[in-house]
Amino acid sequence: MTRRLRMIVLALGGAGLAALFVAACFGMPGFGGDRHPYGDRAVHASLARRTANTISSVNFDQRAFDTLGEMSILFTSVLGTVVLLRQTRDEKRGRPQPQEVALPVRRYALVVLPVALVSGLYVIAHGQLSPGGGFQGGVVAATALHLLYLGADYRALERIRPIGVFEVGDALSASAYLVTGLAGVLAGTAFLANTLLPYGTFNTLSSGGTVPLLNAAIGMEVACAIVILLARFLDQAVEIEEDNGKR
């Protein structure tokens, strides 16, 4: 298809879709409206189960099955990336030369690293209380680990980041989420039912029944997943080279 024809098709399709969308926007309830039936029920249910952060309650209790699916997508994408970025037969591994990093940058990275790591873990742990949780904290913790690339060098990063361990951790935390869910079936209630553990005291770390457990599983899963993803990409960008003999 020529460029011109593509632009015509695109213009037609885009115009139609835009008209449809804009018409729909004017049929929407106004921004900031007061009618949120599902949301109100969710808030109510969250408070009944003594989970202070309603969003965590929705994610890990009321709609925990969604989160199961999302977690599986994460798991699948990471597995897919590992498979797609594998070292193929015509590639070899090169040794990256250590690069000079300015001393202030290095010091800064090494100071920030533990702070960021701890704040990541803090964000995971307080998921059912304050804004944050497994998804956010996991990303923060995983990214923090990569400050070591700046702070020391790639080799140091590789040493503290045994990728196999993270892959196993990724799979185990995904399995832990499922096993927690299955415990509900075995106990005779329902899959992912939050009825096994006491709900605890409102606004404390141990409140919310299984919410903290699932939250921790997700935190670990996300952290491992992001570490593996970044590792695979770094691997490609820094280490893996094409075999010069071929191609």
Binding site: G14, M28, G32
Partner: protein, 115 residues
């Protein structure tokens, strides 16, 4: 004015589509797809917003003292953001392999799979 956020979401979605269709670099195209996805976040959160309400987190407010915004859409968006990043990673790894096998990341130069 009450439709502005929705219109912004629509604008972002269509802009992303335009970029995707006219992109000359597959990495850029994947970036445009990420733009399309951010339109869904804006739309979802705009739908859940409640004027004058506060965040649905009760660690420092008393339950029932103030109206809160819809937590459901926030939960949906939250998970979607992380997942979006990993799917982007999956697509980017495909792009890297395309660059290895075809020697280009310009969609106009990929000359297989036709007819």
């Amino acid at each position: 004015m009450t439709v502005l956020p929705y219109l912004v979401a629509v604008w972002i979605f269509l802009t992303g589509c335009y970029g995707l269709a006219t992109s000359r670099n597959l990495i850029h195209a994947v970036g445009c797809l990420a733009v399309c996805q951010s339109a869904t976040y804006v739309l979802l959160l705009a739908v859940g917003y409640r004027a004058g309400a506060t965040a649905p987190v009760y660690s420092d407010i008393k339950p029932g003292s103030r109206p809160v915004v819809d937590p459901v859409v926030q939960a949906l968006t939250l998970t979607d953001i992380v997942v979006g990043a990993t799917v982007t990673a999956l697509l980017l790894s495909l792009v890297m392999q395309i660059s290895k096998r075809h020697g280009t990341v310009d969609p106009d130069e990929l000359r297989e799979l036709r007819g």
